[in-house]
Amino acid sequence: MRKLLLVCALFLAAALAPLPAAAALSVDVTQGNAQPLPIAIPDMISADPAQATMGANIASVVRADLTRSGLFRSIDPKAFVERITNINVAPTFQSWRAINAQGLVAGQVTLQPDGRLRVDFRLWDVYGESQMLGQQFFTQPENWRRVAHLVSDAIYERVTGEKGYFDTRIVFVSESGPATKRVKRLAVMDEDGANPIFLTRGDYMVLTPRFNPTAQMIAYMSYIATKPHIYLFDLETGRQEELGNFPNMTFSPRFSPDGNRVALVLENGGNSDVYVMDLRSRAVMRLTTDPAIDSAPSFSPDGRQITFESDRGGSKQIYVMNADGSNQRRISFGAGENGTPVWSPRGDLIAFTKQLGSHFTIGVMRPDGSGERMLTNAYHDEGPTWAPNGRVLMFTREASNNRGSQIWSIDVTGRNEQRVMTPGDASDPAWSPLIQ
């Protein structure tokens, strides 16, 4: 018996011995391999076969949205091993890991007795074996595309930590006809290019459309009268009105973040200056007074500052001032001429167009002018506009031999440059905020 005890004691000692020797190793991983997240998005299931197509359609829009962002890679559904039959049961994670999926979206569409469409989905972390998100939406069946975009936005936000931008629209100038007699019409479409609609008939030229913060109003410049003026287009009613009653040319409108003011440029005897108009009182305040050309104002997201371009220093450069016109200072000191500054909705960057010789490219810099970074490198890119999350930019790209213009997009990291599909040639895009 004593020997038995001794053996037990020895066992115990042997078992405990290695523990105190261990010390934690510390490791600092500073390099990674930026890759899109592989995500599996099977067609959404439905108890009713009549809804099966709807489930497939929604899933395919979600797949396209996430893939287009460049941050996800949708795995080909043909590779799927497991078939989702019940979204309320955890999937077999092993079979999704087998196809290298890191995320899995299991969804279901149901037609409610009241005729509405119900869409439920769950986002699973395949390696963490946990649910990351579960939501449901109700809508009229004809709005299925919007629901798909909302699902994409939810997934994007959950995985990246920042808001999505798929449930948004783009207003742009649609171009057609020969170069000598170009027809320019105002048009809007969904962020993915679906549902394009022309807002004007092309009887007169339109330029520089901009959304207001509710995405219901568009300010743009048009040659309806003899001189170009700024007009407002109400998307709800289709009504247009001239903004203010100025004898001279007005252009380059941009809404303040609260939507109550519009910054614009008023030309007077060859001198253009930045003004701001209060939309309720229609009172106008002049912000710049120097004899140079000041143009392209854009508010900071807090509405307290305005960035604009000016050639007061001899060449076109980017300036920042307080929203009341005080404290005007130049921020761009890089090579070439810099213009069309647009403040990011996130506040951290200002996007702009740089002209070097006959070359136009899109870049970003911090609001103090530091950290200038060029994102594109083509022959002629200009007029950047930000996605509402401040992560992606769209801009106009013109081909070198006058072959027309297209809209392109690029991630703020300089990756994922791609064309935005439009019906025909297009220019001057402006990204809407997230639809309310």
Binding site: L4, A22, A23, L25, G32, T139, Q418
Partner: protein
């Protein structure tokens, strides 16, 4: 209960006993004791080994902890909870999760009725031009990836910035510092391929996350925890989840078996994308 357990353990020992009668019949008590001690040692080694191996299934349960937390809060968002999540001990500590019923009513959508407006979708054209004509970016991206690879090949030795030095000197035991540097590099060179850093956030400092990791002798992950996974900062949480995916995806890690004691615990395993963001 305890009685029966001790009985069974005694019984389990019995098979090892056949040697015992022989030793007792041998030359004397000294030899007997010596043999007994040897047997005990071998037994002890076997016991520790099997115990180490045993940790695998046990420790696999730990990640389930993480599952429970997220799961639980999310499950409220929907009808029935997914069954395979038995433990639901940890309830609090997730204040920022989406509010229980994530019901979002998508109204008939304010699709603006556009009066006297020509609706001319020309969808054909859209279909006609599905592929962007020329794609310079892939080259650029390839360059970047290649640059990242080069950086990675050259960088690791100089990587530890100021933050790193502290913990290491504190935790190291004498010469162990220099001795474990190669282990750290070996681990980094494996995990980097799986880590897709969440670049593009406004504040890069939000993205630095520390994990406390326990490894199994076979190089698989026994446990990987980080407070950042439940951070209220959505960027930090996303960064922590990306790091966690990397940790699990790249296992098992190839590290020298004989130095398991040096890498069985890694703390902190820090993911710091700041250098990459400013490239």
């Amino acid at each position: 209960m305890s009685q029966s357990r001790s009985q069974s353990s005694t019984r389990r020992l019995l098979p090892q006993r056949p040697s015992r009668p022989t030793t007792e019949r041998g030359s004397g008590a000294g030899i007997a004791l010596s043999l007994l001690l040897h047997a005990a040692l071998i037994g002890a080694t076997y016991f520790t080994w099997s115990r180490m191996l045993d940790t695998t299934p046990e420790s696999h349960a730990v990640p389930v902890d993480l599952i429970t937390v997220t799961d639980q809060t999310n499950v409220q968002a929907m009808a029935p909870p997914p069954p395979p999540t038995p433990p639901k001990e940890e309830t609090p500590q997730q204040p920022v999760e989406p509010p229980p019923p994530q019901l979002m009513d998508v109204e008939p959508a304010p699709e603006p009725p556009m009066p006297d407006i020509k609706i001319k979708p020309e969808p054909k054209k859209v279909v006609d031009t599905p592929k962007p004509p020329d794609q310079p970016p892939p080259k650029k991206q390839a360059n970047q990836d290649f640059a990242a690879l080069l950086n990675k090949l050259t960088a690791p030795p100089k990587t530890p910035p100021n933050a790193k030095v502290g913990p290491r000197t504190v935790q190291g035991i004498g010469a162990a510092n220099a001795m474990t540097a190669d282990l750290a590099d070996a681990l980094k060179s494996q995990i980097y391929q799986c880590w897709s850093p969440p670049v593009g956030a406004p504040n890069a400092n939000d993205l630095v996350v520390d994990f406390d990791v326990a490894m199994n002798p076979d190089g698989s992950i026994a446990r990987a925890t980080s407070d950042a996974v439940s951070s209220g900062n959505s960027y930090t949480r996303a960064a922590a989840e990306a790091a966690r995916r990397a940790i699990f995806q790249c296992q098992p890690y190839r590290l020298p078996q004989d130095r398991y004691s040096q890498w069985r615990e890694i703390n902190p395993l820090r993911f710091d994308p700041r250098q990459m963001m400013n490239q």
